[in-house]
Symmetry: C2
Subunit: 88 residues, 2 copies
């Protein structure tokens, strides 16, 4: 059994309005020194797979197919097997 | 300069409807072996701070104040300093 930790963010060329709104709010709340904020999505998916390679393929496959907007978003993921070696 | 990578997820006791919808969709798309999906938020915040401790305090402070719903969400974060030692 594996746990995939998937981090989805906007592509660098894409404006992140939500991030800008949060940054402005933090500055109004007097949090100094904040130079940028980006907000993305975070998924944790538990899946059974015969081996690490198969797990990685499936995660990449369903992330491209369903979890991201390929025009505006990019992602990275970590795969943790149940005996806790991190395979990134 | 530091980069805080903040991962926000629902507390274990909270139902995650979005995660359940995604899991059902993945199963309809024939992705086998997926046993659970949770969706959360992911923030990357660049901030200047005099030292790691000050940076950690500020991140915890503004995350509690603005980025999470304290009743339903929990978070963890990593702090990366510009010379790339990860301080978690």
């Amino acid at each position: 059994m594996y746990t995939a930790k998937i981090y989805v963010t906007y592509k660098p060329s894409i404006v992140d309005p939500q991030g800008e709104v949060i940054q402005a709010a933090l500055q109004r709340m007097n949090y100094q020194g904040i130079t940028s904020v980006t907000q993305g999505k975070y998924f944790e998916v538990n899946l059974a797979a015969p081996n690490v390679a198969a797990a990685k393929n499936e995660v990449a496959d369903f992330t491209d197919a369903l979890l991201i907007n390929q025009n505006t978003e990019t992602y990275r993921f970590e795969l943790v097997s149940n005996d806790d070696e991190v395979q990134s």
